[in-house]
């Protein structure tokens, strides 16, 4: 089967500064993939190359087997740019009809998409009265016109409240279930949550991770942090018996692997009255993300960290 998107060994630099370095990945039809990276990591540059607005310096990109920017590729791709602002004095229905005509679809049929993203009632209102979540859902409705094979969403949920974000991902899930491949970018792993099949992490222009969230967690091998609270008098004894590090006068912090976790908890429980409280911190999504984005910055040394600061 032809991959929906195939990126192979792509490099791109601006003013001799490498923005994308040797990036390769492939998306299979029906996959939901999140592309993560902080601001300036090269996400938007990558999108512009996939859309054919920028040419890679070297390497190959194929959109459903077509050259990026060719008519066949554009007809099969839908894109929602970051922070798109439609004319405020048009209505939602007018915007959808306009893009339907550009894409050669029946405007009336496309209007049903407004219903699907929950904007049916607001269809005849001007965009000036829309909330941010509504505008983003309108953008998604626009992207879904004509059942595209590849849907590219550039930071679609940034600035949305948690409820709007969940609604948005529910829609993305439906779209992928119908066979479209969805590639969406974000700058935080917490935002994409568990709503994607696979996660790509771009850091300083390099692809540092390409796997499912569960595998990434495992590969990161981040320790579990146990925080034991003791009294002011007992904290020294607790620290010496558990062998952890003392923090802020009355707590002890321990790091352990998932395999050691239960044994450690038993040790702590055996201390009885010496312990007042216990917090268990699994590594958060942000910790996992930070772990992977650090790889590139330490690998490439000073140049990369300078770029990150810029």
């Amino acid at each position: 089967m032809t991959p929906a998107l195939c990126v192979a060994g792509v490099d791109r630099s601006f003013d001799r500064r490498a923005i994308i370095r040797d990036v390769s990945f492939a998306l299979q039809p029906g996959e939901r993939v999140a592309l993560l990276g902080h601001n300036g990591a090269g996400k938007t540059t990558l999108f512009k190359m996939i859309l054919g607005f920028l040419d890679p310096d070297c390497g190959e990109i194929a959109v459903l087997g077509h050259r990026p920017g060719s008519r066949a590729a554009r007809c099969a791709t839908a894109f929602l740019p970051e922070a798109v602002a439609f004319q405020k004095n048009l209505t939602g229905a007018e915007v959808i009809r306009f893009y339907a005509r550009l894409k050669g679809e029946a405007p009336r049929k496309a209007l049903s998409l407004l219903d699907r993203v929950g904007l049916a009632e607001a269809a005849d209102r001007r965009l000036g009265t829309y909330s941010k979540g509504m505008r983003q859902r309108l953008g998604l409705a626009q992207a879904l016109i004509g059942r595209p094979g590849l849907v590219l969403l550039d930071e679609p949920t940034s600035g949305l409240d948690p409820i709007s974000r969940q609604d948005f991902y529910a829609l993305v899930e439906e779209v992928a279930a119908e066979g479209a491949t969805v590639l969406l970018s974000s700058h935080a792993l917490t935002e994409v949550e568990a709503r994607t099949d696979r996660i790509l992490i771009l850091s300083a222009g390099q692809m540092v991770a390409d796997d499912t969230l569960a595998n990434l967690r495992r590969a990161a091998g981040l320790p579990i942090r146990l925080k034991v609270r003791a009294g002011e008098e007992t904290v020294t004894e607790v620290a010496s018996r558990l062998g952890g590090e003392r923090v802020n006068g009355r707590s002890v912090e321990l790091l352990c692997t998932p395999a050691e976790k239960i044994g450690r908890l038993a040790q702590i429980a055996a201390l009885g009255d010496l312990v007042q409280d216990l917090d268990v911190h699994d590594p958060s999504l942000d910790d996992v993300y930070r772990h992977f984005s650090r790889i590139a910055t330490t690998d490439t040394g000073r140049a990369a960290s300078q770029h990150k600061g810029a």
């Binding site: 512009k48 859309l51 607005f53 920028l54 008519r71 554009r74 007809c75 791709t77 839908a78 894109f79 929602l80 740019p81 970051e82 922070a83 798109v84 602002a85 439609f86 004319q87 004095n89 048009l90 007018e94 306009f98 893009y99 005509r101 550009l102 894409k103 050669g104 626009q142």
Partner: protein, 276 residues
């Protein structure tokens, strides 16, 4: 292809109506032309010349200033504004080609401009006609004025697109548009006049000046309209030139059209190079 051009044009026309652009432009054109027709025609009676023709002569001079301004204000946002709003990324990632995008904008803006001119000047013509002041010839003069004004507008729309495609911010494009208006409509004539008076280009003037006038759509428009009216005895000034032109006035019209076409081609080429 035509379908997509018309789709873009129709949206542009709709936006023009929604944001009151058409109403405002029509209002300005109608206001000025009615004022000229009603107040400025007092001395024309005894001369025995058709009152509509006199009004058209005054309106031709007004159009030289107003029409380029309206056209530039319509056009400056076309590319830079879409980049600003992020919609150019969206438009160009759809099957719309860049030439279709710009031509669609152009057709839409041309319709906005033609509607404003047709209604604005048409109102004045209708008023003069209904008050029994006009003859058939006067009505034709009005039709010619409206037609050539839209042509002048087209040339300045194209200039506006070139400016808009050369920057990435709508506000910069707006500033450039005002500079272009000042340079082409006001300063260009002053500069030519200065050269003429100073005698610096004395030996060149017979061949250079007519060409210089033809190259600027605003001057070419004025030349053609005043020559066509045979209005030298009415308005003087530039009209004196029209009588002693070394070429047929129709050449001026052809010149506006070719400047418009060439500038529009340049704008399309520039839009092709943009990374949205």
């Amino acid at each position: 292809m035509l379908g997509r051009i018309l789709t873009v044009a129709a949206l542009e026309l709709r936006i023009g109506m929604r944001n009151r652009w058409i109403v405002l432009a029509t209002f300005i054109l109608a206001g000025f032309s009615l004022a000229l027709a009603l107040l400025g025609s007092a001395p024309a009676g005894p001369l025995g010349i058709d009152r509509m023709t006199v009004t058209v002569a005054s309106l031709a001079s007004l159009s030289v200033y107003l029409v380029p301004l309206i056209a530039l204000l319509l056009a400056f946002d076309a590319v830079a504004g879409e980049i600003d709003r992020g919609t150019l990324l969206l438009l160009l990632s759809s099957p719309l080609s860049r030439a279709e995008f710009l031509l669609g904008k152009c057709v839409g803006h041309f319709c906005v401009l033609s509607l404003s001119l047709g209604i604005g000047y048409g109102l004045t013509a209708a008023l003069l006609w209904s008050s029994g002041e006009g003859e058939m010839a006067g009505l034709l003069d009005f039709a010619r004025l409206i037609g050539t004004s839209t042509l002048l507008g087209l040339a300045f729309l194209a200039i506006g697109y070139v400016l808009s495609a050369s920057v990435r911010q709508a506000s910069t494009a707006a500033a450039l548009a005002i500079v272009a208006w000042l340079a082409l409509v006001v300063l260009y004539d002053l500069a030519l006049l200065g050269l003429l008076v100073s005698g610096a280009v004395d030996s060149l003037s017979p061949s250079v000046f007519p060409v210089a006038l033809l190259l600027n759509p605003a001057d070419a428009f004025r030349l053609f309209n005043l020559a066509a009216l045979g209005a030298s005895d009415l308005v003087g000034g530039m009209a004196g030139v029209a009588d002693s032109l070394p070429f047929a006035p129709e050449l001026a019209l052809a010149s506006i059209l070719s400047v418009a076409a060439a500038t529009l081609c340049l704008a399309v080429l520039m839009v092709r190079r943009i990374v949205p």
